[in-house]
Amino acid sequence: MKKRAKYLLLSLFSLGLFIFAWYLVTDILHTFPAQALPSPTKVVLTLVKKFTKKAPDGGTLFQHIWASLKLALYGFSLGAVIGIPVGILMAWYRKADLLVTPIFHFLRPIPPIAWIPLMLVFFGIGQTAKAAVIFVSTVTNCILNSYIGIKQTKDVHVWVARTFGASNGRILFKVAIPSALPMVFAGLSLSMNLAWMSLVAAEMLAADKGLGYMIQYARMMARVDLVIAGMVMITIIGAILNRILSAVEHAVVKGRHMQ
C-alpha cells in the first residue's frame, strides 16, 4: 500500500513538474515568446472559448468536431462493412483468395496518406475525397485482419465441427468467424486510429472545416494556443472513439478472457 502511494505521488509530481515547468518558461520567465509556446492557462482558456467563438477560422469547436467526426465515421463504417466480409470470403474460399490476394498485395503497402492527392483529383476538394481516403485505409486493414483471423482458425475446431456433420457454411459462421473476431476487432481499432489520423492530415491539405483545418488555419495565423487546443481535442476524441470500440468488442467477442 505504501509503495502504491509512493508511485502515485511520483506520478503526480512528474505531471505537476511538467505543467509547472511549462508555466514557468511561459508566464513567469517568458523564455519562449508567446507565439512559440503559449502558457498552459492560455491554452485552456482558448479551448474553452473556442466552444462558442467562431474566430479565426469561421467555426465553433463543435462545428469542427462534428464535421470531422461525420466524415471519419462515414468512411470508417463503409470500409468496415465492405472490408470484413471481403476478408472473410478471401480466407474461406480458395478461389477468391487466389484471385483477390495479388491485387490486395499491390494496394496494401500504400499508406492512406498517399491516397489523398489521387482522391482529391478524382472527387475534388469536397467531403467525398476525404471519406474515400478513410474508406481505403479502413478497408485494407479490415480485409487483412479478418483474413488472418479466419486463417488462424484452429484445425482441430474445424475437424470437430466436420465430424459432427456441420456444413461448410455452418463451420464458417459457428467456428471460423467467432474465433476470428478478436483479430477483426484488432483490425478495426487499428483502422480507427489510422482513419482519425489520415482525416486530420487530409483536412490540413484541403478543407474548409474540421479539426485538421482548424489547426492548420491556426498555424497560418501563428496561433499556437489554438493549435495546441486543437491537438488536445483531436487526441481526446481519438481516445473516446477507441473506448467506444473496445466497449463494443467486450460486448461482442466471447471468451476473450479465457485465453
Binding site: 478461389k95 498517399a114 488462424q152 489520423m197 492530415a201 498555424r219 501563428a222 491537438m231 477507441n242
Partner: protein
C-alpha cells in the same frame, strides 16, 4: 502465426500462379477500359501510361530530381527522424519497464504524448521548427517514438517471471538480470515496434513532404495533384508502396536473422 493451414493440394503452386496472373490481367484490363471512358478518362491514365512514366522517372527528372533521388531524399528524412525515435524510445521503454520510479515519473508524461495522432503534430512542428528539414525530422520522430517506446516497454515488462526468478536464485545481480534476461526477451517486441513504427514514419514523411517540400516521394504526388497530372500521382504512389514494401521485407529479414530463436518458437 499458425502456418499449419493445409487446404492445399498437389499442383497448388501452378494454380496460384495462374490465378495470380489472371487477377492482374483483369485488374489491368478494367483499369485500361476505365481510362478509355470519356470524362473519367481525362483524369485517369491507362496503366500502360503509368508504367511508362514510372520507368521514365528513373531517367528523366520529375521536377528537379529523378525518381531515385526523390526516394533518397525521403529515405534520408525517415532515417534521421526514425533514428532519433529509436535513440529516445528504446531507452525510455526500458527505463519505464525496469525501474518503478522511472515508470512513475515518465509514464504520466508519456501518456500525454502517446494518444496524439502522429500527423496532428504537423502544425506545431512547422511553428516550432519552420518549414525546413528540422520540422520533418521532429514529426517523423514523434510518429515513430510512441510505437517503439510502447513495444520496448511491454517486451521488457513481460519478461518471463520464471526466468527472472531462476536467474535471481542463481545469484544474478540487477545488471546481469537486465542484460541476460530482460533485454533478450524484449528484443522480439522491439523488432515488432520497429516494423510498425517504420510504416508510421514512412507515412509521416509523405505527409510532411506534401505539406511543404521541394523533393521527395510525397512531393511527387502532391505536385502531380496540383497540376492535375494523375499519372504522376499514381507513379508516386507506386514508388511509395514499393519502398514501403521493400523496407518492411528487409526489416523482417533482419528480424529472422537476429531473433532466430523467436521465429522458430512460433
Amino acid at each position: 502465426m499458425n502456418r499449419k493451414k493445409k487446404r492445399s493440394f498437389a499442383g497448388s503452386r501452378t494454380e496460384a500462379l495462374v490465378y495470380g496472373i489472371l487477377s492482374l490481367v483483369i485488374l489491368l484490363a478494367v483499369w485500361h477500359l476505365v481510362s478509355l471512358g470519356g470524362r473519367i478518362g481525362k483524369f485517369f491514365p491507362s496503366p500502360f501510361l503509368v508504367i511508362r512514366d514510372f520507368a521514365n522517372a528513373f531517367v528523366h527528372a520529375i521536377g528537379r530530381n529523378t525518381m531515385l533521388e526523390h526516394i533518397f531524399f525521403s529515405l534520408r528524412r525517415v532515417l534521421v527522424g526514425f533514428g532519433l525515435g529509436v535513440v529516445v524510445g528504446i531507452p525510455l521503454g526500458l527505463v519505464m519497464a525496469c525501474s518503478k520510479a522511472g515508470r512513475a515519473f515518465f509514464m504520466p508524461l508519456f501518456s500525454i504524448v502517446r494518444p496524439i495522432p502522429g500527423l496532428a503534430w504537423i502544425p506545431l512542428a512547422i511553428l516550432w521548427f519552420g518549414l525546413g528539414e528540422q520540422s520533418k525530422y521532429f514529426l517523423i520522430c514523434m510518429t515513430a517514438l510512441v510505437g517503439i517506446t510502447m513495444q520496448t516497454f511491454f517486451g521488457a515488462l513481460y519478461a518471463d517471471p520464471v526466468l527472472i526468478g531462476a536467474a535471481r536464485m542463481l545469484g544474478a545481480g540487477k545488471f546481469q538480470l537486465f542484460v541476460h534476461i530482460i533485454l533478450p526477451s524484449a528484443i522480439p517486441n522491439i523488432f515488432a515496434g520497429l516494423q510498425g513504427s517504420f510504416a508510421g514514419a514512412w507515412c509521416a514523411v509523405i505527409a510532411a513532404e506534401m505539406i511543404r517540400s521541394d523533393e521527395g516521394t510525397g512531393w511527387i504526388i502532391f505536385n502531380g495533384m496540383n497540376y492535375a497530372n494523375t499519372a504522376q500521382v499514381i507513379v508516386g504512389m507506386v514508388a511509395i508502396g514499393l519502398v514501403g514494401l521493400i523496407a518492411s521485407t528487409l526489416l523482417k529479414a533482419l528480424e529472422r536473422r537476429l531473433c532466430a530463436w523467436n521465429i522458430q518458437g512460433k
